[in-house]
């Protein structure tokens, strides 16, 4: 039976290409919300800890999780553990935590679709013929939840977020605002981290 958890049109606009992983993450997020008995998060009260890493195609799942739960990157409600696993823990401070992971048999069955023949050649999802993409997406929609996900309650899971800061200072070097936690002092004047030269500039990691 086809799942009821199909991403809305705006979700595909946001993610900007059709692939099977965004809808899988979306479904995982919707199921986790229902499991914990909470609504989509408007503000800053729900956390998602995906276990994915980077540079593997399944990371698109995390866009589905943002879309479904409202625990977005910009609100900093989502942090990766970099385990390279196809799983995530969903946490509400009052309702507790649940972990969803993708079953190996599901991954193996999905990997046989033509979509991955293209992806393994390095072809980006938006360049793959739409019928090839929609074939695997529809197959995912048609799988029952229990064929896709392992679900584990996490009664001992704890996470304490740091309280937010609103105080900021103008950098005496570049004149731009910096939040106080990140202000450094140089020659007696407050400066931002890049103007201070104290910490090496972040590299673009790929």
């Amino acid at each position: 039976m086809t799942t009821q958890h199909i991403p809305p049109e705006w979700a595909f606009e946001f993610h900007a290409h059709e692939c099977p992983f965004m809808p899988i993450g979306y479904r995982m997020g919707k199921l986790a919300l229902a499991h914990l008995g909470v609504e989509r998060e408007k503000d800053h009260g729900f956390f998602v800890f995906p276990e994915l890493g980077e540079g593997h195609p399944q990371t698109c799942m995390m866009d589905g999780m943002q879309i479904a739960t409202g625990a977005t990157y910009g609100k900093l409600m989502m942090a990766k553990t970099f385990y390279g696993k196809l799983a995530a823990t969903f946490y509400h401070p009052k309702k507790g935590a649940v972990r969803y992971s993708l079953l190996p048999d599901f991954i193996d069955a999905m990997g046989k679709f033509e979509f991955f023949v293209y992806r393994k050649k390095g072809i980006e999802p938006s360049q793959i013929p739409l019928d090839v993409r929609r074939e695997v997406i529809q197959w995912v929609y048609d799988q029952p939840d229990e064929a896709i996900f392992k679900v584990e309650a996490k009664p001992d899971f704890k996470f304490t977020p740091i309280k937010g800061s609103f105080n900021k200072t103008k950098c005496s070097g570049c004149g731009e605002y910096v939040f106080d936690r990140y202000v450094r002092m140089k020659d007696g004047k407050p400066v931002c981290i890049p103007c201070s030269g104290y910490e090496k500039t972040a590299l673009i990691e790929r």
């Binding site: 990157y73 609100k75 910096v178």
Partner: protein, 201 residues
């Protein structure tokens, strides 16, 4: 641009509450796309470097950047530099052309001095603040001239390391039986395991 714009509607649907920082990120993303003369990224064509870090106000800026540029957390082409600032560097990965767009002190001050932020400082969630206080801030951000909101720096050539090919190989952890991307596999007493299992005694 106003609140009926499709891009703002997608931004609000994703973000979940009305605040001025998400729209500011939308405008920053659009300004950067415009400066580079590129379209938003269906896949990994662009990289966005945002300067926010964790646990400070206005990080919502990054959700606007995701929506406008197509550089999303899931696709892995948005990164935080952790400076606690409101800059966005957008890189065209094909050509290496990049531009930094940063919110002006004036643009930040307007929102900072608003009544809306006084509620936020009292830890009242954005969705609980009267929309009459926040909607004028949003309208101002959406309709304001780009050069009032941002300093758009000259186009530069970024050093973009060649993109590592996507990894498709996975292993099954010998302890928990879960799928793990091969690069993240560890060896524990001769067995191939995932990172959390490797760290257990």
């Amino acid at each position: 641009m106003d609140r009926n714009d499709e891009l703002y509607k997608v931004g609000l649907a994703l973000h979940g509450h009305k605040c001025p920082a998400m729209p500011l990120g939308l405008r920053a993303g659009l300004a950067a796309l415009d400066a580079l003369g590129v379209q938003h990224a269906p896949d990994g064509q662009l990289t966005a470097l945002v300067e926010i870090d964790r646990n400070h106000c206005s990080t919502c800026f990054a959700d606007g950047v995701q929506v406008a540029t197509g550089c999303t957390f899931g696709k892995g082409n948005i990164r935080s530099l952790g400076y606690g600032k409101f800059g966005l560097t957008l890189i065209d990965n094909k050509t290496g052309r990049s531009v930094r767009v940063v919110a002006t002190p004036e643009a930040m001050r307007r929102n900072q001095e608003s009544e809306f932020i006084q509620f936020r400082k009292k830890d009242i969630p954005a969705s609980q603040v009267d929309v009459k206080l926040v909607e004028p801030l949003i309208d101002k951000v959406l309709s304001e001239k780009t050069d009032v909101l941002f300093k758009v720096e000259p186009i530069q050539q970024a050093q973009v390391p060649p993109m590592a090919p996507h990894a498709f190989d996975t292993i099954i952890c010998a302890e928990c039986g879960e799928v793990t991307v091969e690069r993240y596999a560890r060896v524990k007493r001769g067995k191939i395991v995932c990172i959390p299992c490797a760290e257990k005694a």
